[in-house]
Subunit: 335 residues, 6 copies
């Protein structure tokens, strides 16, 4: 239904499409004439919009966090596109597809979930298998597991990102466990599937990605601890010490106190899982940093999450050696 | 039943009493003659013991962590008392009172528990009151709440110490809440009574104070979170947000990530409770350091928990001023 | 004398009142016509002002940090009020009440000081009582003690804030000392009254709150150490060791090296006083953060001093449970 | 050739001179009329420039990082000067003197280099002397050693700054070695001359000071390690252990791991050299901070490198004592 | 040739075998009679030895770090075995097999080296392949690569440990690169094979594992940087930027400044390699900690390298649940 | 008067000399016979002593910290010399020279003090000169300034060490100020002479070097601040701002909060002085570490103060290159 995205808008174009309202104000021009100023957005970005005439009725009906339908003309002001609104109204529920307003994974979510279920099914330990299967086959959990992002900004910060991360960790765990025979793959798989289940409620991701109040007060580690503990207790005969081991895997997976783990990993698999989780998250953050246009040919944008920027290796290896040129000043200036 | 404690033993005395076996070995003298060497202890300390003759039968029957009955003579060796054992056998259960073997509070535990219950009863919020009363009137919990120490070494490290700490915090909370009217006393009292309930299982304190395996893997914050969450869920109608607030109080009470709190206090009462808990613990640690004989008149023993030693204020204020004397060397040497 | 405060200004209103000049510049319009631009303020906030005509004479006479009398019209520009000045002149001293230009405590300063004196009078130790009374009855000190803020931004950052903090600490100390009989209340009261006396000179608070050059070079701990040491030395017979104890209380009250205490608290009362001072300051910072409008219903503004934001507990407990709603996307979007 | 510098431009002046292009864009006025906007600069600063008419041809030929010749008029817009361009073309190589576009030392570079060579010549140890002389007499190195800055922003951040720093360190090392007879001056001099040679390639300083890609990936310590190691290996018979000592001096000169030294100084001269290098750099940073106009009479601008601001001692000692005045509020306000 | 190892010695046994001398002193008995005291060792541990008679000749000829042949009787003193020497002489070179005196890998070193070569051979990039092959086929390097441990105490601290670690990393890199198609496997393999080559000279491992003086002054990162840089420069046409990339991989592989990396990983493969290297080292440290007898059934010895102890998962899962038992005191004491 | 020092004692020697009593106990032999055990010491070290017969009278009269005269025989027990006392009595004051019992500088203290006075005299600023001269010509201060050590263990830990350090800093300051003309030498000299005056009372050094109680509670920075402030206030007309500058120099000279400076250096001379003080102290600590016999030829003992050991440069440069030999195992073993 949505026909034009923010990043595609060209100068002097007339458009009719849908947006989410991020901000709304009534302003006055220097001459004292009021106008409506909106910030509109979709999953590709945001744009300023102004409505100069007959905006009063629409302005009453439309509020922040509403979806709207607009008819507008794209103009360029201070080198940036801007919308001059001619018509504006609230959208009807059936006109809007949420997927147009939040970034989402490019993978097929149902296929990913099938892979997750397959990994769960491959767990040999009957107690762990029952636990993991119970969680991911819960319809309330499954629906959100397919939508949730893995974070607000750090890594996999898009709808479906959490699932992508979990499926990736299952595969990675299998490969690493094949290398170290001393590792218990069942525990690694259970950790991969369960370790971020608390994010389903820590984050909210209806229209934009943010934190719930409960999420800020408790954090996903504590939230999933409650969920998983109850699931374990609902399984009759689940061994008490295995329960402790699962709980330890969950609470220690951030690896360090200062990252919110109340215990350091003290089980071999807990330590290894922390490494894999950290590696997969960091690598996703690097990928995201490299995907942004940093304005520098050989370097990514600076990643606040990683405290550095990353080399675009291909560009660097292709470029003639900086060293060969040296810094010899004169010949270089006016070739 | 126990008649002589380690700290009371005098030279050349003959004793008949009970001890806990801390260590046991068979050693050889230089001449190759075997003898039995034990380290025996009670709540007041430990002492070396040797049995030179006819120890074989007793040695077979007696092991580390057993209680024993001995008949022995106290001798002084290298300035320290030592036992020369004449008779030795395992004690019978009914001969032993555990209280003789672990340090315990000097307060009356039943009175303390009555005070705790009174504080619980003074909570106005009906949900919190129901929760707290439910916990402390659970017989399994109450029995252990009356025995548990608050820590292995840091503070209140004796039987009944946890209860003493909780009762003290209730009183302190009342005083501080009377000063700051913005504070919700109910939350502070609930925190005071519940915040260390996980220690009932984190620590073991049958014969000596130590950590359980589960305690090391999860810690008391995570352990009590499970206990309290279940108690809340068993109360029909308990408000969801109040549950989140109680959980936040529990998980944030260490105040900093590096002390094992997965969240910083973000509720006013959580921040204040952390201060009170920390103050009461530290002050108990100072009290313990000052109680030890440090060999220095004006200074306590060095407290590892606090990273410093503390001044014995009374001694210092009584002493003639160091400054008045100065460091003037000659006249001071041979007055 | 001051009739209109910045936060009360309404659109299209004509006002005649007094302000403090925070900034002054002559600017040109795009057409090259010069005009006078001022930033004016009072204790409630600041506002931009422009004078388009006949500003030359006034501009010569008026400078930054002057008080001015203005006749002006309030206009709205870019959604914010702004003053269009019609008349402008320097204010005469007798026209200005400083209290209109700096935020100040809502309490009655004289009553607070009487409470402080009463606490001082309750000190039992004759030497400490003489010392503390001497300090707070010094007219030069008393005048400033009634005006000084406790900080520039961290806590109690308003005129009279320091006094409010000290009086509060006296009361808190009495309550806590009643709980811990081992504590010497006299020392806690002396610390409460004297520990920030150096701020009288570390800060300047004539028109705005800032730091003096001396304050930046020495800090209030060092500054008050000099004041109190001299006051002690002026008391004949003051015990040398008690002097050392008072000095230690002063220099250790920040509790940690990185907060500018050259010694850690090594006296029981010094440690406790540090806790109380820290608690009272932090709680005041939380109070200030909650008092600001953060634009979020359930959360305070982010407090830089505390490194977090705080929950508005009442709002949260009143709100329907976030958890009950869950993150179920579709039904929520178009109810 | 360059006749007018940015900091000298006065209102309504007509100028013909050369600049470096820092930024270039085509923008539209509100009415949709395009114009060329440039940011132009020289060693004294930067200025905005606009060309309203007939800019198309020039705009095609001119790019960021080009030198240009302009004919323009200086106008004042929002209190800041701005250029209205009438003519614009790329400069020819022979028209431009790079020294006009980058800040540079006020000292005579050739004289400084002669001093450096003299210090090198004063080294007694024949191996070290041969090594150091070989490096600084290499024409490729010498040309760049005379141009390189010592840093991008921290200290000596101007052309010739590195040389100034090295020459200063040689002199300082001689003075300090004269004080501590246990120190080997030869090692200190070798370190002073060689320790930042890697900066010749870590930084680029053709038109502005920045980091090369190689510089970011390796850092000057690693880069100079390669240069100096090869120079040593080219000297037949150079003692193996002396080589290790020189390498250690280079890699440890930042003094701490977190500043990029892979080893702490473990040789007396390495530790001393680290102190001298650090002192000279920090003092240069203080000098730079004091040279900026901070808008405060008694204090320098805040130095990010040093985490504080510095007192202008002369101003402070000249000023009437702040303390004498005190904070007595009333008399001060309207003198 | 060696027939009896320290850990196998039983009481009252007569032995004839070889040891390494760790310490040697002449002591006097209380009666003033001199005797020879040695500390002797092999790869399994150390033991005290005394020679009471006719030791003078042997004592002259035998020194610390010598191999000796002894004829002795095992006695038990203070519960520990001790040797009473009857005959003692220096061993002849051909009598000693070094492998008896240093712990070594249980794997077949030649097979491991063949695997390393195979991984080197699988590198696709011709320049990297040539570089890596050149290094590992150098006979001087190969001989030591087959002997060197990976560390003194942290991980793989036995002969052949470095090779085991490198071969393991090659396999792990292949698995992980198969999971993340964005990664360049060639760079990971080159890093795996080359990243610790500096340890061949940083450590000495002739008789015991220690650090060379050069190793302490430079560290293996700097040492291998020199080796690999020279090997690269010897390959004509090796691309300059690829050289920089290889150097960056080497210097950044410790991942953080405080672990001696002068640069953080800024290339994707450098970051990933750091994770793999760290994981493999830490896991080896856990393996070593679990292999030691800690005297606790469920916990490993405390690992200083990891700052914690690790759970013996199998023991824990097998044991009856601690929780089920609880801490109920009475019934547990006398079962 | 003292004829034999601990380090000079040879086996079976009979001696008559003086010692300081470090410890005293009455012990029993295994057979129950009591004897007197002392630890005796002088400036060169300590030794155990036993008196087997007729010790009762002497034991009553002699206590810890007394000087004693002994007649004894040196015996060797467990390879260490030990005294068998035949006669023992307290020494008379006139028999003892304190210099025999504490390590002291090898320099001539009076000459050093004359140099210090000369530096004080060279101060040009009349106020600073008056201040500094007043301090060092105070007889009470001078007497202790000539005796005090600079620290208990860190650096210059011997009688006269503080003076040596101060005189060294004066000379170093002159050299460095000659290099940086922007520095005010007067301030540096005043700092050099005054910055550790508080150590005269922070430490006690009558018989052994330790801390006074006052020193532990206040520290030398706070203690000297009081001394110097009073000396300034006693000088009529001393400029208020110069007083602030001197106070800032004193309190900031440790350079960082965590080393007990309540303010960072914010005056150029304060920053430089901190560097010089730190350098001189650290270099003295290196000197002390190198002076100890570490049992390693090329390395000093590990210095706890510096967190590392230091290379003996001369030994290392003299030794045949370790690298040349390499780690080639076989030929090295049996040369």
């Amino acid at each position: 239904m949505k026909t034009a995205f923010v990043t595609d808008l060209g100068s002097e174009q007339n458009i009719t499409t849908f947006f989410l309202v991020h901000e709304k104000e009534i302003r006055n021009t220097r001459e004292g004439k009021p106008y409506l100023r909106l910030e509109l957005g979709d999953r590709s970005g945001t744009i300023e919009a102004r409505m100069w005439d007959q905006f009063e009725a629409a302005a009453k009906d439309v509020n922040r966090d509403d979806f709207v339908k607009v008819h507008a003309r794209v103009e360029i002001y201070r080198n940036k596109p801007q919308l001059s609104l001619q018509q504006l109204r609230r959208a009807k529920p059936e006109e809007v597809d949420l997927a147009d307003f939040l970034p989402h994974t490019s993978a097929d979510v149902e296929k990913l979930y099938a892979q997750l279920s397959e990994s769960a099914g491959s767990i040999a330990n009957p107690w762990l298998k029952k636990l993991v299967n119970g969680i991911i086959s819960d319809p309330g959990i499954a629906a959100r597991y397919k939508r949730a992002p893995a974070a607000k900004v750090m890594h996999h910060a898009y709808l479906g990102g959490l699932l992508e991360h979990a499926v990736g960790l299952c595969d990675l765990a299998k490969r690493v466990a094949a290398h170290y025979p001393e590792l218990d793959l069942d525990l690694l798989l259970a950790a991969a599937i369960l370790h971020d289940v608390g994010k389903l409620d820590e984050l909210c991701y209806d229209r934009a990605i943010g934190y719930t109040t409960e999420g800020q007060l408790l954090g996903h580690i504590v939230m999933e601890l409650e969920t998983i503990t109850k699931a374990i207790d609902a399984i009759e005969g689940f061994p008490a010490n295995l329960k402790t081991v699962v709980q330890h895997l969950l609470i220690s997976h951030h690896g360090q106190y200062e990252f919110g783990s109340p215990k350091l990993p003290m089980i071999r698999e807990a330590m290894v899982f922390h490494y894999l989780d950290d590696l997969d998250s960091k690598l996703a953050a690097v990928r995201a940093a490299l995907a942004l246009d940093s304005g520098e040919e050989e370097w990514s944008a600076y990643s606040g999450a990683l405290g550095r920027k990353f080399l675009r290796l291909d560009e660097f290896l292709k470029s003639p050696s900086a060293k060969a040129e040296g810094n010899v000043p004169n010949p270089k200036l006016f070739p």
